[in-house]
Each structure stands twice: as structure tokens, then as C-alpha cells.
Symmetry: D2
């Protein structure tokens, strides 16, 4: 049983009969679960296709509540074991280790990217991030190097044996991303770009799906469901802060979301403290908290020269801060017996 429907008071038997027939004509069975003072039904059948709001269109309905999650492929009820995703260089999400992803917000030049990647590889980082197509709030801001940037990322990854991740903004770029990246990222602003999600169901690479600024955990998992229902079961979720009334931080990191995802789903989930806080001074402590809460990984912005970064300088770590952080993350990882890759 997945939906509970409560009718208004003083509805005629005839109206109830018409309603029952209408719902049953859609292929569902109604079970009478009412009591003396309330007329109620439970809906049996595959209610993935019956929405609470469809039922509320009937004037005799007072209330309807869903009592089973509307997603299936992404749900732990239907798939008990954790999904584990392994990249070509061995970096693994969803097992008993956690993964550090790091790199610049935007790819700005060959030199910039190479400098950063060279440094990160000395730190043991296995996954390199870098934006080539940038969703910027202002049309007057740097919009990314595009394809050229993506190729730089690919080559740099090859050079240092790092897997690479970058954000896709258009479904027509899918072939390019299949070729040049190891993980395809969907940004927060595109979490509910359903056409893009459908296309990514056909991608040959794992998808990292960021949570939308005001997406509930259920909606986020429904977006994962879109990708999975269209064929791609390798989805990594990324919590990156949600929008609330608090403005001291850029967003509010919803650290409990990691636990919620672990209860509701079998997919790996990481934390991006850089976009959550929006302040370099908070990254290390939030990263420690992310590992402590059980995140499967971290994604952190690092820059050789944040003050001249073309985007997100305010939340990027300099090399020395990153090195200090890695030291402390490893100590904590060791203590909680979940090694950091």
C-alpha cells in the first residue's frame, strides 16, 4: 500500500462509488480502511505512477498522503547493498574508504591546471576536478574555457594518473564528456533539468549529481531515479549546501543529508564543503565533520593563486592550507578506521 486517501465528510455514497471506479479504471485497487467517522482508502498497485496531487484533484478528497517513497531504483528498499563505483585508476566510491576530489573551480590555463594537478598528485589525490563550462550568475562573468578546457583536464589527468570530473550543462555535449571525463557532474542548478538527466541515463560514465539549492532529499533522489530509470545506475550524490535564511555562509551545509541518503538509498554520497561554506576559512573543519559523519568522499576547491582566480577565489584553498588539511583528515580517517584515498 502506498497512498492513503481520506475523503471529506458528508460525501454521498454515489460520489464515493464514482471516485472508486475512476481510480480503479487507472489500474489500482482501493482497500477500505476507514472507521466510523472517516471514509478512507489505501491504494494498492504500482503507485509510482499515481501522484498524491492527482488524487487531490477530486473534490471529494480531503487529504492524501504517500507512505512509500516515489523512487525505486534509487531506493534501499529495493536494493539493499551499497552501490560501489570504481574508476579506472582505482578511486572507489561507496566502499569502506573515502575519496578526496580536488582542483580549481574553473580551468583557466594549461599552466594553472598543471601547477595545481602536480601539487595535488604529491598529496595523493586521485580525482581532479575542474570546470570548463561554467554556470555563472552574471552574464558578465568568466564563462569557462569550454571544450579547450575539457581537453586540458583530460590531458592533465592522464599525465598525473588522476581521474577527472567536470560539469556538463547541455545534453549535446554528452559525447564529449564521455570521451574526456571519468565522472560527469550535474550542477546544483541543473538537478531538475530533467532532459539533461534523461540524456545522462545513456552516459558511459558515472554521474555526480549535486543537490539543488532548495531540493528536498526526496527530490534529489528522484533526480537520481531519472538517470537510473534511463539506464545509468552509477550515480554519486553530492551535498553542497542548501539555501536557507542564514547568509553568513554562502549556503547551509546539510550534514544530516548524508545520513538520510544512507537510510533511504544505496548510492554513495559525498560532501562539497567549498560551495556550502563559500569561505576558505571553514573548509578544513567542515571536511573533518564530513568524514566523521560518514560521507563517501569530499570535493574541495584548491587554487595556486585564489586572489586572482577567475571564479570562487573566496572559497578556494591555497596549497599550504590544503596540505595541513590532508594531514588532519588522514589522522581522523585513521581513527575512525575509514581510510581516505
Amino acid at each position: 500500500m502506498t497512498l492513503i486517501i481520506k475523503l471529506k465528510k458528508d460525501v454521498s455514497n454515489e460520489a464515493i462509488e464514482t471516485f472508486k471506479q475512476a481510480i480503479e479504471a487507472k489500474g489500482f485497487t482501493l482497500k477500505d480502511i476507514g472507521s466510523e467517522e472517516t471514509t478512507m482508502f489505501g491504494v494498492l498497485g504500482d503507485t509510482k505512477t499515481l501522484d498524491v496531487r492527482d488524487v487531490l484533484a477530486y473534490e471529494i478528497v480531503s487529504d492524501a498522503v504517500r507512505i512509500q517513497s516515489p523512487f525505486k531504483e534509487a531506493s534501499r528498499s529495493f536494493h539493499k547493498e551499497n552501490t560501489v563505483i570504481t574508476l579506472k585508476n582505482g578511486a572507489t566510491f561507496g566502499n569502506d574508504e573515502s575519496v578526496m576530489i580536488a582542483g580549481p573551480c574553473s580551468i583557466e590555463s594549461h599552466t594553472q591546471l598543471d601547477t595545481i594537478a602536480a601539487y595535488l598528485s604529491t598529496q595523493g589525490v586521485k580525482v581532479l576536478r575542474g570546470g570548463a563550462f561554467k554556470p555563472r550568475t552574471s552574464p558578465y562573468s568568466f564563462q569557462g574555457l569550454g571544450l579547450e578546457g575539457l581537453k586540458m583536464l583530460y590531458n592533465t589527468g592522464q599525465k598525473y594518473n588522476m581521474a577527472v570530473i567536470s560539469e556538463i550543462m547541455n545534453k549535446e555535449d554528452l559525447d564529449t564528456f564521455n570521451t574526456y571525463t571519468d565522472i560527469i557532474q550535474v550542477g546544483a542548478r541543473n538537478m531538475a533539468n530533467f532532459d539533461l538527466l534523461k540524456a545522462l541515463g545513456k552516459a558511459k560514465k558515472p554521474i555526480m549529481l549535486k543537490r539543488g539549492l532548495s531540493a528536498t532529499i526526496e527530490e534529489w533522489l528522484m533526480s537520481a531515479e531519472y538517470i537510473m530509470a534511463h539506464g545509468n545506475h552509477e550515480v554519486i550524490l553530492a551535498e553542497r549546501g542548501i539555501r536557507t535564511f542564514e547568509t553568513y555562509t554562502r549556503n547551509t551545509l546539510d550534514i544530516s543529508a548524508v545520513l538520510a541518503v544512507k537510510e533511504l538509498s544505496h548510492l554513495p554520497v559525498i560532501i562539497d564543503p567549498s560551495h556550502a561554506a563559500g569561505k576558505y576559512s571553514m573548509i578544513e573543519k567542515l571536511s573533518l565533520a564530513a568524514l566523521a559523519v560518514g560521507a563517501d568522499g569530499l570535493m574541495v576547491e584548491v587554487h595556486n593563486d585564489p586572489e586572482n582566480a577567475l571564479s570562487d577565489g573566496a572559497q578556494s584553498l591555497k596549497f599550504d592550507r590544503f596540505s595541513d588539511m590532508m594531514q588532519n583528515l588522514k589522522t581522523l580517517s585513521h581513527a575512525i578506521k575509514r581510510p581516505l584515498q
Copy 2:
């Protein structure tokens, strides 16, 4: 002057000098506005291209605030007169009348659309809405009739001399929308799909830009700026409710946003009470309020058979309710001396 920068205490003169040179190298002038206890600068120059967050990347900066809006084309400061947008059949947004847009959430069949349009034209409605490409939260829900639906909409509009509006989800559909619609709608979930916005800067039709679920008014106007900066100055804004902690209504209608937009911008702004409330029982009263507050129009979902609608039945009006509402809206419009088209 557009940005104010406050430095941390106890910063060396040398560090300040380096900072000033860095900012000035980017083409801005710094004006010293500090007092004895605080070092502060005002930034002169076209700060559209300098973001608060760029400045916060400098470790010596304590705080930075913008004191001028980051948009220009969309701003009333730069364009005092209201933008007025007139469609081929005379429907006009932004003048001293207001416009009713109505129709089904989704186009479901020729018969459904024709029935609704025939009815609406008897009510004097000049703009017909209907979704052909549908952004649905669940991959298992009806996804729209696509191009076939859009052609139905076009033909139905022709038949009843109604202008038509429908939602675009992909930039590759732009030619199709240029051909078959009179207004191209950007849905709330795509408000920050910047690639789509850029493409719509080249559209031949006015754009209706819905406010994102958690978009600030400033971000919404920045999205309008994207379209305008790329060439299309005919943008109509649509407030459709924002996401808050309250769940009794589907979204929280931010009726004050109409007034905010009128202060900040010259663009027309309408209200969509259907998506805001999510309940048919609230549409009429919210529509009355929308006209009273000064909205340039309304967009309302109407269906001949909401209980069997393929989407949004719960918030669609039946014909008799719509007729009653039109009567009351006209009475109010007459009283406030702003006729409803």
C-alpha cells in the same frame, strides 16, 4: 561607486598597497573612504565585472558589500520607462491594463485543447497556455506530447485568435518555438539554466521568465539580464511562489515580489497563482490579490476535466469556477481602474 571593501584590523601598509595595485590592475579605481579605526575603500568603475566574492578571496579583506545592483539592462536605474510588450493579437503586458493567460497544464489531445480554448475564448481570454514539453518530478509521469502538442497549440491559437505560450526545455528547440509560439516560457527549474538563457537572447519572441523556487529577486533579474545582454529585451517576469518551510500550500506566493520588481526593474511582471497555491480552491482569491497589488497579468490553469488531467489536476479550475472568477476579477479591475484584457 558600487562596492565597499573593509579590511581586517592590523594589516600592514605593504599588504594594503599590494591589494590596491591588484584591484587597480583589473581596471578599477579605489577611493579611500576609511576613518581612524577602519580601513575602507570604495570601488569605482564598471563593477558589473567585479564580484563581492572575488574581493573576499584576499585574506586581508574582512567584508565587502555591493551597493549597486549587479544588473543593468534589466534595471530601472538605467531604463526608467516601463517596457511594454505587445503580441500579434493585441494582448499587451506592461501598460495600464492587465492580461489573463489561461489554459491546461499539459496539452493532452486535440479535443481537450480545443474544448478548453473554445471555452476560454468565450471568456475573452487572449492568451492560451499549454505545456508540450513537461518537466515532471518523476520519470514515470506523463512527459508531454512534445512537438505534436506544440503544433496543436499553434493551430488552436490560430483558430480562436489567441496568442499562445508554452515552455521550452532545450535550446535546440528554439527554432520550433520561434515558429509555433508567441511567448516562450522558461520554467522555474530552468531559471538558472544559463545556456538556455543565452540562447533565448537570440529568440524572436518575448520570453516569460518564471522565478526559480529559491531564487532571490536579484537572481531572478540577473537571469533576465542574461537574456537581455544576449539581445532579447522583451522579457516578462512571472512570480509563481517560492519554497519555504510552509507546506500547506505547494509554494508560498511572494506577492510583494511584484512591488519589488516594479521598484528595481522596468520589465512587466505577472503572477501564476496555480503553481503558487497548488490548490484550485485558492486560485480566485489569489488572483484578486494579484490584480490588487498591481501585477501586469495572471497565468491560470484551466481544465475541462481536472480529475482526469494528466498533470496538475489539483490546481486546475473547472469552467464554471473560471467564469465566476472572471466576473469578480473584472469587477475589481474596474474599481482599481486597470482593465483586464
Copy 3:
């Protein structure tokens, strides 16, 4: 039936039996409403005293949902007719007219209050507001004239035959408020000050209960329930804006809340546009919208000299603006056939 309980999968029959006995020992009856794949129960009995969260304490419970409102005295289900509240000078809330309440944020001096009241009485305003005990965010701001101010308010009301309303902050002031006011106001910050609410259940005057900054409509009605359950059934609700991510306005006016309250409750509900918008420029339009949506009244801040007001100058109307507004409100009231007192 008021609660639905869903158990986890694979729970032993013994555990289920223990659970049933525990709930039944609390005086409730469980009705089996499960199906083949799900074990579910409906709870019969007076579930006002059984909370969803009490049930969730049991480890075998997967989910519990309430399907009946937790309030009773405030609920329209239990009291179909509108509550109508009439003050000594005839001002009436909840009938087919609406009421204007106006006055300064803070009572600052005899002269200030008298000047404002004299003016308002020429405008036909029947209820005078004025704060004597002020909840100020900063300990360094003006905290109100206290009892002296309350007496000024009382005397001024007498002089102009206006009923008066002021905010109570402490239950020990109840006798004073019973003596000197006609409506006792509970501020947004005290909406969940349950001790104060209980005390107001013994008040001899109607209570105006403002909605808390982040209170759901259900929580707001539960606070009304506190007052009513302790003996005072004359409660007027006041929507004054909620806290959201939007900061252009001081708060976000949730105009749909008026409609929600009308559906869920029989109590009168008014709108305070001054605190919602926080800007004098928006008051008139929001007031028009408030009447259009069906509010039972308005509460507006008016000041003879806003620029020197000791509080809330930014949202107070000058006399000439208020006069213009009253003119327009009356025109609209006349059109919608709901006179403004």
C-alpha cells in the same frame, strides 16, 4: 482515525504484539489496515494526546503520519461557523466587514500619540494600535514607555472613542492589560511562549495572535488552541510575514495563509503589511491585496514623523499617504462588497 502507523519490514509477530499492547495500554485502539507486503495500523481514539513522534520512538516503526489536525477548539471541523468578535465601540472581526487598525509602532509621548489618534479618527479608524512594551532586537534600542505608555493609550482611546490594542510580553502584566486595552496582542516572537499563552486563556479581552517568523500555519493554530483550551475563545490571528531566503522585503508576506486559516479554522484573520514588507512604499498595495484575498482586517503603522520615530520608521506611513490609501481601500472594499470599518 487520526494516525497511520507503518512498521518496518521483517518484524517478528511477537514484536508486533508487544507494540500493539503498549499503544492500547495508552488508551487507543489499533485497526489493522495493512496489505500483503506492508504491516500498517490506524489509531482510533482521542489522538490529540498521541503524537507522531511518540510512535516513532518504537524501533519497529518505519513511519507514522497524522491524518487529522492536532487542534480541536480552533478547528473548523469542530466549529463550522465563523467566530465573530465585537469590541465595545462596535469594531467587529469575522463578520462581513473588515477592520482597519492603525497607529504608531511605539508610543513615544502624549503629544505624538494624540496627534496620530486625532488624525486617524478623522479617517474613521476604530482601533488604535501602540506599543508600550517593545521587544527590540538590540538591548541598546528604545524599549518602550511601559505602563505609562499603556495608560496614555487607554486615555487616548477613550478620548477618540477608539478601541486600543497593545502587545503583552509578560504574563504578570495581564491584569494591567485587562484594564487598559481592548485587544491584547501576542507578538511574533512570543507565539510559542506557551506559558504566556496559557495565562491569556484567562484574559478578559480578545487576543490578537501574530504568526511566528517561522511558524507553520498548523503551529500557529496550535498556539491559538493553547489560549482556547485554557478558556479564552476570542482569538484573532494576524499574518505578518514569515522568514524566507528573500531579503529585499523584511519578511515574506504569506498572503495565502489567510485562505489556509479560513479553510482550517473559524477564527478571524487579519494582515499586518507593515511588518511583512518593512517598507512604507509597499504598504498600500499590500493592503489592497489583503482585502482582495479576504482578510478580516488590516493593522498598519502610521506616524506623524516617521523619520524621527523611535522604532520602525522605515515602515510607517505619513498621514497623507495613509489618507490616499484609505481612499483606495474603500473603493476596493465597495467593489468586492465587503465594507471597511
Copy 4:
């Protein structure tokens, strides 16, 4: 300089002069910081007493922004060293250790409290929590044992050498709390009950100030300022989750708030994961994250029989879970070199 004021365009010199005189008459100095196209002033003087909104009351003002925090006693700018608060049994907040506070939500009986305290003392817990006066959402729920409960708490604390903390709801209970508790707690719903805060400025015990459900960090610190400005400098802040659109957890734990408080203030800050999550299953992981992020302590609900608890059973830990958690917290504390008391 603390406020920046920007005037509207095309304001007459005369109006500017009048404005300047008005502000200066209030005891402030205005510094001209405008440029060619904008008239701007900086305000010098003790702007604790001048609010942004006071300035916005002037019609010629376009915008005003505060560039210095409105609190002083609570601010790290004015008091660089951490405040350290030590209780009679040695438990210390704000030094290089962290403190575990645990106990039942409500004190229900002597037996219940003694059972729990006896257990907790075996775990090394130094501070015992227990509610005697309970702020319950429903008037029909258990409201606490009151004074009798508080005495039980005091005696139990004595017996096991634990300091005790309980929530105050009314200022008239202050003497009682001075006598029977070691820390006086202000609940989230009373964070802006300014009369209570003023009274607590005269308390003889440290105050634990919970963050309000929708309070910004700045407002929270302003409430601390109220207590401090009235004489009591021993304030411990407690983050317990904020209200957002997400409903999977009871509230959204804002873990970054710990870092924000550490930047802005010198006061100790702890985390209450029980009220944040509202689910016992999440408490351990969130507690680990809280220590990792640098919180000065934790407050956790523990019950010998959560299923029959009179309040908050759903978020209370059983003894065995608590013991496991303590083990893991100690391991992590050891690793990060910040012992847990």
C-alpha cells in the same frame, strides 16, 4: 565607521542638508564618501544605537548597510580571548576540551531520573540535563513536573556529583533556578524573549542560549548581547538545528554555525544533535561531526525507556547505544587531541 548610507539620485542639496543635520542631531558624524554619480555617507559614532532601518525611514535614502556587527560584548573584536566557563564539579566550556551533557528530555519520576543519572555517571558524564518546565507544542501534552522535577534534578546531581542544567520559561522562576541548577537553559522558542533575557543578565549561573528556529547567527549573538549587557557574561551558545524546507530531519543542523560563532564571538558553543535530527538513529554520527568541527560540547537526550518517554522518545538514545557512542567519541577526541570530558 559602521553604517554606509546611499542617497537616491536627484535629491536637492537642501534635502541633503536637512538630512545631515537630523542625523548629526542624534549624535553621529557623517563622512562624505560619495563619488561623482552617487551621494554617500559613512556614519561615525557609536552606531550600536543607530539602526539601518532608522535611516531607511528618510525618503531621500536609497540604501543603508551596516558594516560592523551590532553586538559588542559578545563580539570577538572587542574581546579576543575565548570565554572559559567552569562549573563547580570542574566541567569546563571553552577551553581545549569538550563537554558531554546528557539526560532525559523530561524529568518524569525520581526512579527514571536516578536510573539515567546512575548510568550516565558510569560513563563519565559530568553534566546532567532534564526538563522540569516543558514548552510543548500541544496544550494536551505532558507539561513537565515543574518545581518538584527541578528539585529531583538538584538532588540527583548532588548524589552523582554531576552539574545540572534545566530550561527556564519565566523570569519569576529565576531565584529557583539560581538555587537548583548549575546552568540555566533558554530554549529555542525563547531566544528572542527579551524580557527573560534581561532578567537572566542578573542570574548567578551561566546561561545556555539555544539558537531560535529561524534566528540568524547575528540575531543569536544579539540575544547573548542582551544577557551580557545586563550583567551576566557567562553565556554558552547551543546550535540545535534551524527550520528549513527539508522535513526528513526535524530541523537542519547548521554545523557551520559553530565556525561562524568562533569567528564572530569569544563565547563557547555546543551542539544539540537530538533536537536537530529528531531521530535517535542519527545522533551518534552527528555527535562525531560536532566534535570534528570543533564544538565545545554536546547535549544529547538519553532515556532508560524511550518508547514510554513522556516526550521526545523518538530522539532519545538507549543506554547501550549511548555507551557505543561514547566509545567512538572518545576515539575521535583522542585523534583530534581535544579530550571529551
